[in-house]
Amino acid sequence: MSQTPYLLVKQARGSSRPTGLDYITNLFQGFLEFHGDRRYGDDPAVVGGVAWLGGSPVTVIAIEKGHTAKERSARNFGAPNPEGYRKALRLMKQAEKFGRPVICIIDTSGACCGIGAEERGQGQAIAENLMEMSTLCVPVISLLIGEGGSGGALALAVADRVWMLENAVYSVISPEGCASILWKDAAKAEEAAASLKLTAQDALGLGVVDRVLSEADLGRQPFYQRLRGMLRQELQILAADPDLVSKRYSRYRRMGTETLRG
């Protein structure tokens, strides 16, 4: 690998990589956005709706960070509130009802750390998604396209397949947070980033993701075309699988068991 893990983290935070909406626009046709969680509000950090993938309708849910400063501010920097996770779950349940597969596109530094988020049950919202996604009866594919920040990312990543871009990162905590808690020194983020094993290759090695996607032509049509083909092919396989839900259970059931003793 040519770049240090911490450099990858910084790049993943940058505004030059394609964001969730770029993927929605380029991978799918005829995206219809559906707003709101029917409980409290509409979270601009989570964009969801239905679209066509080739000839098939799919439900698409993306965390959107925005590119410009103005967009980023309007999208809360891609840090979802509880209503974002609840909107996502509402759309997933809708997908289940109508037999559509779900594609989640994830790019977040983490769930919003705000007063309102806590008041409205951020932990409960994430927990409910984890629980409900584990038995959703339609195929789910999650794509980690930039930052995969902890529980805020996982809340859209309980899936049959989790794919990760080669320069994306996925971590239980930010390197700065880890360094400041463990070593009382946020400046040791570089070391923390390496220790946390947060790169795509690490995540693949740990069995957390199933496939690392090449970033050749990232953000250009050949890239989207390639990814579209992979998604269509994989959804065909998943749609034909009668044991989808029990295999999803097994996928998470085995995680972390290799180094256990006793």
Partner: protein, 285 residues
């Protein structure tokens, strides 16, 4: 999402609990100053009152103390006692840290699981330990919780769980994060089988444990004054640069926002849990 206060020095209270030293009503008796009412309380009095100050402040309990307090005498049978995690990421200093915590605490991991009876009613029980890396969830904790829910589902038993956690254990990285999904899936299977799960959230229940099995119970109870939240209060304050509302993330705050069913002081706790079990056994007609 992380544990805090790793291996903080044992305070007198915890020492007292472990040694169960005979306590005398003399002037030299060890005391503990209550962080709430700031009055000194003799340890003997605290112990007699299940570590609750006369003012109502609930001190933390280690997992064995809680088990002894909640389960019928001699009814607890531990499951998976030997299960322990390794150091999957080869994280700097983690193996040594684990060894120290294990030898100091006498526990192998941050949660104890088993079967127990409450007033004769059988259930599965898990109790997390604030003194084992602040109840943080790594691969072993996730596996033990998952196995307990699977065990309970197979035998059609209710689960009662006492949570206390700083969140996911960062030294096990992504594998800790994945335990949130794994435990949630096991809770869901148990739930879909029509079985009861009661969680008692104790101080503190935060991060990845709040955002997984702690919040997934059918009935959510909390000890008064417990800190319950997702993000740490300091992180919220630093991120928002706003003054936090009074009582932010306290059990009372969480109750008033509708995220727990009831507060459950230690006094009477067992009776309440036992009654909830009884209410779910169908009655006689």
């Amino acid at each position: 999402m992380a544990f805090i206060n790793f291996l903080k020095p044992k305070n007198q209270l915890e020492e007292g609990g472990r040694t169960a030293a005979p306590v005398h009503e003399d002037a030299g008796e060890p005391e503990k100053t209550c962080p709430n009412c700031h009055k000194p309380i003799p340890l003997s009095r605290l112990w007699a009152n299940h570590l609750v100050c006369p003012c109502g402040y609930h001190f933390r309990m280690n997992a064995r103390q809680r088990l002894a307090f909640i389960a019928d005498k001699d009814s607890f049978q531990e499951l998976f006692p030997q299960l322990r995690g390794g150091d999957p990421l080869q994280f700097p200093g983690y193996t040594a840290k684990l060894e120290t915590v294990r030898s100091v605490s006498g526990e192998t991991e941050a949660v104890i699981c088993g079967t127990a009876a409450l007033d004769g009613q059988k259930c599965c029980l898990f109790v997390m330990d604030p003194y084992f890396m602040m109840g943080s969830m790594g691969t072993a904790v996730g596996e033990k919780i998952t196995r307990l829910f699977e065990y309970a589902a197979e035998r059609r038993l209710p689960v009662i769980g006492f949570t206390v956690s700083g969140g996911a254990r960062m030294q096990e990285g992504l594998l800790s994060l994945m335990q949130m999904a794994k435990t949630s899936a096991a809770v869901k299977r148990h739930s879909d089988a029509g079985l009861l799960y009661i969680a008692v959230l104790t101080d503190p229940t935060t991060g990845g444990v709040t955002a997984s099995f702690a919040m997934e119970a059918d009935i959510l109870l909390a000890e008064p004054g417990a800190t319950i939240g997702f993000a740490g209060a300091r992180v919220v304050e630093q991120t928002t640069k706003k003054a936090l509302p009074k009582g932010f993330q306290s059990a009372e705050f969480v109750l008033s926002h509708g995220f727990v069913d009831s507060l459950i002081p230690r006094e009477g706790q067992k009776q309440t849990l036992s009654e909830i079990l009884r209410l779910h056994q169908g009655g006689t007609t």
